[in-house]
Amino acid sequence: MSADGLVEVGPESEFEDGDHAIVEVGPAEVGVIKADGEFYALRNQCPHDGGPVCQGNVQRELVGEFTGTGERVDQYYSDNCIVSCPWHGWSFDLETGKHIGDDRIRVPTYDVVVEDGIVYVDGGD
């Protein structure tokens, strides 16, 4: 880690949407994920049973809305992107790290900085 707390991940141009890279940030393993043109970073350790959550599938979150008595629940993909742990499917909002079914469960998130075409994770000071 550099003095300013930034950990280099790699050139921005090497990431397609849905790609991830794993880096060491201090003692922690962090996954950097690109989704919808944005970069996100989360601790690569699932709060369920320690699975490699950042290596899972990246999708938009499927949500449902009650539209009226007797109507089917309207289901659609929202703008939120989620990553799902490949072990048992626990899924987390990429932005907040919160479990999509219970926001009390949370994966720590990190800031991502892109400078001069290089992606960095901000590991804090």
């Binding site: 369920h48 979150e61 499927l62 949500v63 449902g64 809305e65 009650f66 008595t69 007797g70 109507e71 089917r72 629940v73 289901q75 048992h88 499917g89 626990w90 899924s91 479990h99 999509i100 079914g101 219970d102 926001d103 469960i105």
Partner: protein, 362 residues
């Protein structure tokens, strides 16, 4: 410790042993004549009953071991006076009557109006001859939920009758299960009327519980009643009924309490792995289910105290409603609640009457 006999006690589950003999008088035609012509007087009500009520394993009277009067399905028409006698016997101030015959309707899948006709007759009979708020005798209106229009008519009929204080859904037999959107109009109307929905487990078809061929009542009574309630709890919660109708009071009756922590724990475990399959929920199903109310009977007082205590903690003593199930064979008297060592007196009072006052306004 309080003395239950000195306290106000509201019994949320009393089984009025209605028979066709009385109710048929109040049924609409042609059902009144059809039933009155069914020879029950010659062959005995039990005979006519069994053509309506699917049989179930074994003898509820424990093959002669349970000796109380009027505790079985009646061979003779029920007498409204017996409700008063029973309430005195148990020291109960207020009872909510449910129809004992309607419990059997889970076994009827035909679209032939039997349930609707019976329900209409039952309501008129109860209003005319049995229910009496001055005596503390209130009713729950049976909902023929297989027919939405008929169900809405029932609610319309009882809306201005202060003696009916809730809607009763028999949990056995509902197909699709009771979280389905098909039933939304009933829930919407109940919410609007401030009319609690009471899901009551049912005994029909117990012999064929999941797999046919059980031999004894000990087997089917343990499993079947539980399964009927559990399947509806899962459906109602996962399909988001409490999200759709947040002011609807939901009550589950007659399966004790120890199954609830196990069921919600298992359901939460599933939910965290696939929450998008219950998209109306904002958080774990257990958070919704522990907002439901639960009748206590038959309370598992033989369970380890620490287990029972844990169950009460998880469900919340503000969610438990004393229920006797009288005069059925396995009734609980108020002392079953009163004597529980893990409760304080406020909890006891809440379960014996306070919670029910809030839910049913009695």
């Amino acid at each position: 410790m309080i003395d239950a006999a000195e306290e106000r006690v509201i019994d949320c589950d009393w089984h009025y042993q209605d028979s066709f003999t009385e109710v048929a008088e109040y049924m609409p035609e042609p059902w009144r004549t059809k039933y009155k012509d069914s020879f029950w007087e010659e062959t005995g009500v039990t005979q006519a009953l069994s053509s309506f009520f699917p049989t179930s394993t074994g003898d509820r009277q424990n093959y002669g071991k349970v000796l109380r009067e009027h505790s079985n399905y009646p061979d003779e028409p029920e007498d409204p006076e017996r409700v008063r006698e029973g309430m005195d016997f148990l020291d109960i101030d207020v009872s909510l009557q449910i129809s004992h015959l309607i419990l059997a309707t889970g076994g009827i899948n035909a679209d032939d109006e039997r349930i609707q006709a019976f329900t209409r007759g039952y309501i008129e009979y109860m209003l005319e001859e049995v229910l009496d708020p001055d005596e503390g005798i209130y009713g729950l209106a049976p909902i023929p939920y297989g027919d939405i229009d008929a169900s809405l008519e029932v609610l319309e009929r009882v809306e201005d009758e202060e003696t009916f204080v809730g809607a009763c859904f028999v949990t056995a037999g509902a197909s699709p299960p009771l979280g389905n959107r098909k039933y939304d109009p009933i829930y919407e109307r109940c919410e609007q009327m401030d009319f609690p929905v009471v899901y009551h487990t049912g005994g029909s078809g117990l012999d064929e519980y999941v797999r046919a061929g059980y031999q004894e009542m000990i087997e089917t009574h343990t499993l079947g009643f539980l399964e009927s309630n559990m399947s509806q709890i899962v459906s109602v919660a996962c399909q988001g009924v409490p999200e759709k109708y947040p002011d609807l009071d939901i009550v589950f009756m007659e399966s004790g309490v120890t199954y609830i922590p196990g069921l919600v724990s298992r359901l939460d475990e599933e939910y965290l792995k696939r929450p998008e399959e219950a998209p109306l929920l904002d958080t774990r199903p257990s958070e919704y289910i522990t907002d439901f109310y639960f009748g206590t009977q038959p309370l598992e007082i033989s369970a380890r105290n620490d287990l029972l205590e844990l169950c009460f903690d998880m469900i919340g003593t503000d969610r438990l409603l004393y229920a006797s199930d009288y005069p059925h064979w396995d009734f609980d008297s108020p002392s079953v609640i009163n004597d529980l060592p893990m409760l304080d007196d406020d909890d006891r009072r809440a379960i014996l009457s306070g919670n029910a006052e809030e839910v049913f306004g009695v």
